[in-house]
């Protein structure tokens, strides 16, 4: 039972991390019909900025985190303005490939900065320690995991209030519903696009921190973790924010349980599943769900005119 609870806690904290990236994906997809493959790269860039500010420059952690998150948001805004604005109205596939190009650019610069050795991100709570953990009834809770869960819940609550209540939130929903009608109502659609990318960048930076903070260190392979938010988005449906959260929980829990129960699972299946199978499990789940529901669990079915 302890193992089960331990796996659940770790799975949920992973889910929190994935949901932040996943919401970024969904926001961009809903407003612009763009699937941004640059999102994982933005997450790692955010982590890189935190590391360079907090560790290399010696800034206190909290200002470094805030600065890095805002800088990542601005970077994301710049990307939208320079590369994606000229592509409005182009085929979805072309824009997706374009974001792959952006991803290659960002990651190459970042990889050359990271170098061969993994980098640390600094310590948010010097008195408690990110690297530390607390033991509750036999379950090992890392501070970082708790922080990830709390941050994700807070951010998602803020976002949902923002979409329901604020002027820009309503404008965003209108834009995602129908761009031309939104334009006709006097909504500055271009500004909305910028805002969406800014928010997505901020979310990516947060998840980047939780993914690479503490013992998880930032290395050249960190982006693969962020990329695992993609199956979460697909399972939930590309255009549904609740779907993104549910998808992330499914993916996170799967990964957590498989990591702890792989041995038993191999006993049932009868074959060796290989090292790191828990990292592959999300993609397999995505495969299975897409066979039965091609638009994901919560995605709206696409209606096409011929």
């Amino acid at each position: 039972m302890t193992i089960f609870l331990q796996a659940t806690v770790e799975g949920l904290s992973l889910a929190a991390i994935y949901s932040l990236v996943a919401i970024g994906f969904v926001l961009i997809y809903k407003s612009m019909d763009v699937l941004s493959f640059a999102q994982p790269a933005l997450a790692v860039v955010g982590a890189g900025i935190i590391s360079s500010l907090a560790v290399d420059r010696g800034l206190p952690f909290i200002p470094a985190l805030l600065l890095a998150i805002i800088l990542t948001g601005v970077l994301s805004l710049i990307i939208e303005r320079t590369f994606l604005r000229p592509m409005v109205g182009e085929p979805v596939f072309s824009v997706a490939v374009l974001t792959i190009g952006i991803d290659i650019l960002l990651r190459t610069f970042l990889d050359s900065w990271i170098g061969i050795n993994p980098r640390y991100l600094g310590d948010p709570f010097p008195t408690y320690g990110t690297l530390g953990s607390v033991n509750v009834g036999g379950i090992n809770l890392k501070y970082l995991e708790i922080a990830a869960l709390v941050t994700a819940i807070v951010l998602i609550t803020i976002l949902s209030i923002f979409f329901k209540r604020s002027k820009y939130g309503v404008a965003m929903r209108a834009t995602s519903f129908d761009q031309e009608a939104a334009l006709a109502q006097g909504i500055n659609v271009g500004r909305i696009f910028g805002l969406v990318w800014f928010i997505a960048g901020i979310l990516a930076a947060f998840s980047g921190f939780f993914m690479t903070g503490g013992f998880n260190t930032l290395s050249q392979f960190s982006f693969v973790k962020a990329l695992r938010a993609l199956p979460a988005v697909v399972i939930g449906g590309l255009d549904s924010i609740p779907g993104a959260v549910v998808g992330s929980i499914i993916i996170g829990l799967t990964q957590g349980y498989v990591a702890y129960y792989q041995f038993q699972l191999e006993g049932i299946v009868g074959i060796s599943l290989g090292n790191g199978f828990s990292l592959l499990a999300p993609y397999l789940i995505m495969f299975v769900i897409l066979i039965f529901k091609p638009d994901g669990l919560f995605g709206t079915e696409e209606v096409e005119r011929v």
Partner: protein, 367 residues
């Protein structure tokens, strides 16, 4: 119709592989100069062009499924990998850790393509049901599943970080590894590989050119332009979508088998996400949905690192003084080219070629 090359009096003439004499003449000139080139060029350029030919074959494969049939496929590298390992099993040498049967190239080359296309058909039930971005994401999952399998089947691939030797170069019982003597002329290994890959490239190119004018080719274009409309006019979507995947994987498999035979060994980590994306980028840079596009793209991709090297040598900059190493510069430029081509020239290199050709055709008049 002499003197009026653009006047076609019947459909078969218009849809011929070479619709006019100019094209025939240029084709012959290019092929002959490519063959003659092999006798003069240094090993460095021979190897470079050999890889360009093979990458062109693989890109043509991807172009069938993405360019002609309009289905996003981000897992082309996975199919290339399947082809590579099939050839390695059939043609490779067995050691204590990996299996291999040392069979002839005439057996492993087609079989590696067929194995890849069988895998392409196996995933067809999923890929046919999906379209657009969801399909792209599923193929993305395939890349990760593939690299997991490749690094865990140690008896086939040698395992991550170690890799294995690939197929032996043995064609019709003749060992090509040490070169062959033809009359008074001695062909060494690199020249033989160059000529084989050139032939492969020409056959594939003509095959693709031929494919687009057949029933299947027209069905692919119809599916790309509107799959529901295509279904409404009686095109069997399942059959053509899955056959497009199979055909594309076939070319990918063959190209992979040859490619790693040229380079000598293969490590499972090669077939990562970037490897698959390179093919997508080549098709986009070259011009998706055109016959010449992937060829241009493949040459561009293989030759521009060489030109960067030449430029760095000419400017007398030492490699140490650069802020990034050569591989990183290549990758950054590659990323930039993808972005710039998509924004400014969506038809790719083929689009530039098309405008240049038309400009000189009509010269000195503007149109």
């Amino acid at each position: 119709m002499r003197g009026r090359p653009n006047l076609y009096t019947d459909y078969s003439k218009e849809s011929a592989i070479f619709s006019n004499n100019t094209q025939k003449v240029w084709f012959v000139i290019v092929v002959i100069s490519a063959i003659v080139f092999s006798f003069f060029a240094s090993d460095y350029w021979l190897l470079l062009l050999t890889t360009a030919f093979l990458i062109a074959v693989a890109s043509w494969g991807l172009n069938i499924v993405s360019g002609f049939a309009g289905q996003i496929n981000l897992a082309h590298g996975f199919f290339v990998g399947i082809g590579t390992y099939t050839s390695a099993i059939i043609g490779g040498i067995a050691t204590s850790s990996v299996i291999g049967y040392e069979l002839d190239m005439i057996i492993w080359l087609p079989l590696s393509g067929i194995a890849a296309s069988i895998v392409g058909l196996m995933i067809a039930p999923i890929t046919v049901r999906l379209k657009g971005l969801n399909l792209g994401l599923v193929t993305l999952a395939l890349v990760f599943i593939g690299s997991h399998l490749f690094s865990n089947f140690k008896t086939v691939t040698g395992g991550a970080g170690l890799g294995r030797k690939v197929a032996k170069l043995k064609l019709l019982g003749v060992d090509l590894e040490s070169g062959i003597q033809i009359g008074t002329y001695f062909l060494d290994k690199n020249e033989i590989l160059y000529l084989i890959c050139l032939a492969l490239c020409i056959f594939t190119g003509l095959g693709v050119k031929n494919l687009i004018r057949t029933r299947a080719g027209r069905a692919y274009s119809a599916i790309r332009d509107g799959d529901i409309a295509a279904e409404a006019i009686g095109i069997n979507i399942f059959r053509y979508k899955s056959s497009a995947f199979a055909l594309s994987s076939f070319f990918g498999g063959i190209s992979g088998a040859m490619f790693f035979t040229v380079s000598g060994g293969v490590e499972p980590g090669t077939f990562n996400l970037l490897y698959s994306i390179i093919f997508v980028a080549i098709v986009v840079i070259g011009g998706a949905g055109t016959v010449l596009g992937p060829l241009f793209g493949a040459f561009f991709y293989t030759l521009f690192p060489a030109f960067i090297l030449v430029a760095i040598k000419a400017l007398e900059i030492s490699e140490q003084s650069l802020p990034l190493n050569l591989g990183q510069i290549e990758r950054i430029l590659f990323g930039l080219f993808i972005i710039l081509f998509l924004i400014f020239e969506p038809r790719g290199l083929w689009g530039i070629w098309f405008r240049l050709r038309n400009y000189f055709k009509a010269w000195p008049f503007s149109y």
